[in-house]
Symmetry: C2
Subunit: 739 residues, 2 copies
């Protein structure tokens, strides 16, 4: 069968790519020169490279052995929760396969539906060897279908059990962090939005003080009104850039002096991208720039402190129990005013969204939802249109300077040919960024929530465009022959079409097995070998990095990209559950995908990725619900497919669907509240040392308003001690995260 051989070829090639990349990893990761790329967390801890004695597979053993608690200590709860996605998926797959593989495969393989259909329908009926291992090979209304019915119940129960166990585990980890004796600033802080207009005689601060002194007489400490500091931030960023350029220029000058003589003072052009404009002395230029920017920034800080007070505030309490309770209460009679919610961790605050009024948020949200819906459904159409329009001629008109490139004939020809495909790729790669921007536009005030919202949108996009798209279009296209036959026979009815579709579902499963195989072999090969960061690191180190800070940036590992990886993994799980009973062989490939993913991501969490922020595992309910949705889709698919097989007891498949809804409600009511807020039981655990209010206020002061001793606002004057949890480079030392 050609279908089978193509499938095997695909599998072998991608497996070979994976093996090559994996071997590269094993070799390269042991070279001390690559230490910073493969073990950045050790580097941040100040520990040196491992010695030669360390076994080649020691990393895998370490990854295997690490407990949840160790993972939380090194990588934070968010990364642990992400890895739990893999653990849970693996558990579901293994427990399900224990029944499905030994029971269903022989039952399917020994039936002869495909052969018989082939005999009846002739060339219109195509199937591969793999299809003989699925439910497609069972004759309609065969008693063998009972085994598949039991399998649906088995998979359902197994999934409930594994999901429940994982939710409870994550729940316990989160609560033990929240109850930890080491207090953190966000535990004493709530975000208050939609503060009504002030009375004439009182200031915003007085107003907030009066309100919270009345509603929380014992626990209220102080407040911090939100400012609009966009301009200050812009000035600060400019000054930071200038500082880095100056450092770079000085380092270059120093090197050239060391090389001999007076050295060469570095020069650069001031125009676009340093390509045009007058040439200037870099050190002088950037020094002058900093001297110009500093007083401007000072001025702007004073303006911010004095004016531009928004109708939102952070409110600080002297007790985390009181803060937890306040964050759950309706404060004002008009509940749209004085809306209180738990404050996000300082590092993940989105300052520009924190002061959006309620009416704006309630308009932004539906608008973003509509845009997302249109994006999900019609994304392919504008891409195709734009790819068609992006000809080289149009491009030259827009960006004249690339004319130098297009004048070369060979390049011109290549570009002409690949530009549309390139545009397509660029647009698909831009999608996650677009979804992040859309989620931010909703008015969500914390980074982790934005990531969750974007992940949700990306999941819908993939379910619609990949899963449904391929399943439906795949089934339609592979059924065209069948349609033609039916039309010729004048026999085209709804039931016939449903039957035809049903017959084509298992072959589509083969496509997904290929998809899964490709995705995990290539994807995880790239991830674990870190071949691209490695190349970039070495290029940067050789040619670009001159200062200490630039070296650090060259190997900065960055955080996990949950907003793309979570939905991708969940899509695989959806496909797996959906075909679990119809084509149980998918378990083998799904197991490989999640197992290698589990190992790679544990290694990444322990040795590589460093989080920008920590939401204390708030991603789990999101993952849990999508696991359950996948199960529901699988149950509905089974219901439809069993009906297509004319099985008279298909009605029994309605109970698992009801049970899934009940299980969803149970988890939502039992576990979810502890993810949305902190329960009083947890918040009332004793604290080793209550942090001082100044510490907390400083933690919540945006960096651009803080550095130096210059910010004059009365609210910040006592905020002077050093906070370790804020970090501009996005890198925190593991020691900090050990709290």
């Amino acid at each position: 069968m050609t279908a089978t051989s193509a499938f095997v070829t695909n599998l072998v090639i991608s497996f070979l790519v994976f093996v090559v990349l994996f071997v590269l990893f094993l070799i390269l990761s042991r070279r001390p020169g690559n230490f910073h790329v493969y073990y950045p967390i050790r580097a941040l801890r100040g520990e040196g490279p491992y010695g030669r004695k360390r076994g080649m597979f020691q990393w895998a053993i370490d990854a295997f052995k690490a407990t949840d608690e160790e993972l939380v200590a090194v990588a934070g709860l968010d990364a642990t929760v992400y890895i739990h996605l893999f653990t849970t998926a693996l558990e579901i797959i293994v427990y399900s396969a224990v029944f499905c593989l030994p029971v269903l495969l022989p039952i399917a393989a020994t039936d002869k539906n495909n052969v018989e259909q082939k005999a009846i329908q002739g060339e219109n009926y195509t199937y591969s060897d793999f299809d003989n291992l699925g439910m497609g090979n069972i004759r309609p209304n065969s008693p063998r279908i009972w085994a598949f019915l039991i399998a649906v119940y088995w998979v359902t129960i197994v999934t409930y059990y594994c999901l429940w166990k994982s939710y409870r585990k994550v729940f316990q980890l989160r609560n033990s962090l929240s109850a930890s004796a080491v207090a953190r600033p966000q535990q004493y802080t709530v975000l208050v939005r939609d503060i009504p207009a002030t009375e004439k005689h009182e200031s915003r601060t007085e107003q907030v003080d009066a309100f919270f002194r009345r509603t929380h007489p014992a626990a209220y400490e102080r407040c911090m009104i939100m400012h609009n500091f966009d301009k200050a931030e812009k000035l600060y960023t400019e000054r930071e850039t200038a500082t880095r350029k100056l450092e770079h220029a000085e380092a270059v000058f120093e090197l050239s002096r060391k090389a001999g003589g007076d050295g060469v003072r570095p020069m650069h052009k001031t125009g676009t991208l340093g390509l045009v404009g007058p040439k200037v002395d870099s050190i002088d230029f950037w020094t002058k720039k900093i001297q110009e920017l500093t007083p401007l920034l000072e001025e702007e800080r004073k303006v911010v402190a004095a004016e531009s007070k928004e109708d939102a505030a952070l409110v600080f309490f002297n007790d985390r129990l009181a803060a937890a309770e306040a964050a759950q209460s309706i404060h004002a009679a008009y509940a749209l005013q004085w809306q209180v919610e738990p404050a996000a961790e300082p590092r993940e605050c989105i300052w520009s969204n924190m002061h959006l009024p309620a009416w704006q948020r309630s308009i932004r949200q539906p608008v973003v939802y509509v845009i997302t819906f249109l994006t999900v459904v019609f994304y392919m159409i504008p891409i195709a249109a734009i790819s068609a329009l992006t000809t080289l001629e149009n491009l030259v008109k827009l960006v004249p300077f690339i004319k130098t490139i297009t004048d070369i004939k060979v390049l011109n020809a290549i570009l002409q040919a690949f530009l549309p495909q390139l545009a397509l790729l660029v647009f698909l790669a831009l999608l996650p960024k677009l979804l992040l921007a859309l989620s931010k536009a909703e008015g969500i005030p914390s980074q982790s929530h934005i990531v969750r919202a974007a992940a949700g949108k990306y999941f819908y996009f993939m379910v619609f465009n990949v899963f449904l798209g391929v399943t439906i279009f795949g089934a339609v296209f592979s059924s065209i022959q069948g349609f033609k036959v039916l039309i010729k026979q004048g026999n085209l009815s709804v039931s016939k079409v449903v039957e035809l579709f049903g017959a084509k579902l298992p072959p589509v499963a083969t496509f997904y097995i290929t998809y899964v195989a490709l995705k995990f072999f290539i994807g995880y090969g790239l991830q674990i070998s870190r071949i691209i960061p490695l190349i970039i690191y070495h290029i940067k180190r050789k040619f670009l990095c001159k200062t200490e800070r630039e070296h650090l940036d060259a190997w900065a590992p960055g955080p996990f990209s949950y907003h793309t990886s979570v939905p991708a993994d969940l899509l695989i799980m959806t496909v797996t559950l959906c075909y679990s009973v119809i084509a149980p062989i998918i378990f083998v490939f799904a197991f490989l995908y999640f197992f290698i993913g589990w190992l790679c991501n544990r290694n990444a969490a322990l040795n590589v990725n460093v989080p920008d922020w920590e939401s204390n595992g708030r991603m789990w309910p999101h993952i849990h619900n999508r696991f359950l949705a996948a199960l529901l889709v699988s149950q509905i698919t089974a219901l439809g497919y069993f009906a297509v097989k004319k099985f008279p007891y298909t009605v029994f498949l309605i109970f698992p669907i009801i049970a899934t809804y009940a299980f969803y409600l149970y988890c939502k009511r039992n576990f979810y509240p502890s993810f949305a807020v902190v329960s009083l039981e947890v918040a009332s655990q004793p604290v080793k040392e209550t942090p001082s209010t100044t510490t907390i206020v400083e933690a919540y002061t945006p960096t651009c308003l803080l550095d130096g001793d210059k910010f004059e606002d009365a609210e910040f004057q006592d905020a002077r001690s050093n906070m370790t949890s804020r970090s501009n480079s996005g890198i925190t030392s593991p020691a900090e995260r050990n709290v």
Copy 2:
């Protein structure tokens, strides 16, 4: 036209009935002997009947003049909220009619669609004069429809404005009561359910104490564990009955002695209904019974106090701000445990539902919903079946003693004829009681919530069986001729059927006008004349009442029956809004209905009905949402009807539908939270005098565990002061309600 004359006849007859009843009221209410029936609130206040000088219509002037605040003071906020239903409906009707009547009626009356259709379709097309005043008389795709489109927008905006104004008014009344300086027990109390199992060494009380001391160290005062006191309650009720019987027997004996001589000691038979069994001396019998029951009750009280502690408790705080905050917080990490909610007023607590565990509530609710759904949809079927089965022969077999009646030939014949109809009537009258019982079975712990739930169910029943039933079946039956024509022409398509239905909608409006007219003329006539309570009162006073308590019971006015009246009024409003634009003449009848209702109910609130409990206006969001649902139904109906009229700009009717949803969300977010809980801003208002914990505990102790100084539970030992807010007779003096 016969349709018109039948309609007028109907109207005139019911109007005459109303006039008769109203005149009866005017005359009878002025007789001092009826004072207790027409002015029970004055009687409870201890004030005497009005003198002869009082004008005949003074009651109406008083009802007119009373402000919301006065109503709240006399009748409580719940009654005021019920009257607000009428005020709001009247406002909507008047403002809408200001546009619809003068503009739409002439536009409709001067068109000729009905005449033309009659000419085309002949006998199959019937219409009344009233139908000429509705949109049915407009030709398809006429520019006149623009006026009706504008009317939809006008009615929509008017409804938003009136609903918003009313919600805000009720909201302010509720908050000013909650913020009142006179504190009430429920403000210091929360209900805690789903308390987990105790540790071995600790008692339930210790467990609750420990948990709340930790989570509310400053404000927690004490707790009261829920008991299962069903048996004690039964004994208590038996003893109460015996006490009353004894009082009655003693009064009878006293009277007979006064009549002369030694008097006759009253005797009675002990068997069923006092008809069979041995004859005994009543005074001796009931005295002995009380002597038997008292020690049993004492014994049972001790058992209750010592054992049968449930996993629910009332928790008391020393501060209403702390209690309000606690009632809104997630207490336990596992959120299904230690579920906290605001406690209901003591008088409306449903003790038997307060300790139901979460899993039971979550099963009871869907089960009740399914039963309700089946009841709503299929109620008519079993009724019809049972009516058919209730023949006299069957009845005689079941209840032999009615054979004495059936032996009389004339009665037999009458019963034979009317029994099925009687069964139907009895079953329809039983429905509200069934719905109350179903709502109680859901596990709702407060009386007011049960009433709201039952009102909601009854509303669905009426919308389905009266509104939809009549509209759809009415339209189908009156279209049968049209169907036959279409079938003959071989021209039966979906669009034709829709067209046919559309043509029949306005005639159905005539039916509703009759329905509204009948309902208000007869219903309000009966309500204001109080003719039935009056007759019962006089019969009881003459023949049955011997003791003081029996006299009181004979005229006890009872509370409003919100669970039947609210849905009935809302149904009328739904019909009114639904036909507001299609047949604007309905405004005239709706105005009369709500105006007379407004006057009658204000009179009832000021002079007659006495509430059993007070939920502080929690009914309003329920009413508000159903008003909005009625508006939505009217907008959707308009959309459909405009489409039937082939109006090309019908698409403009989509925006009001979206706006209605937005308005719903706005009200829900802005006002509703203050109805579900008490906001901290309100709860933090100063209190004149904080009630002592013992007062609060006693208010929450069920009567059967309280009377005398005998209840031994340590929890109740310090609860001795007298609470005025509990009242077994269901009658509270207005002075109490003045808080």
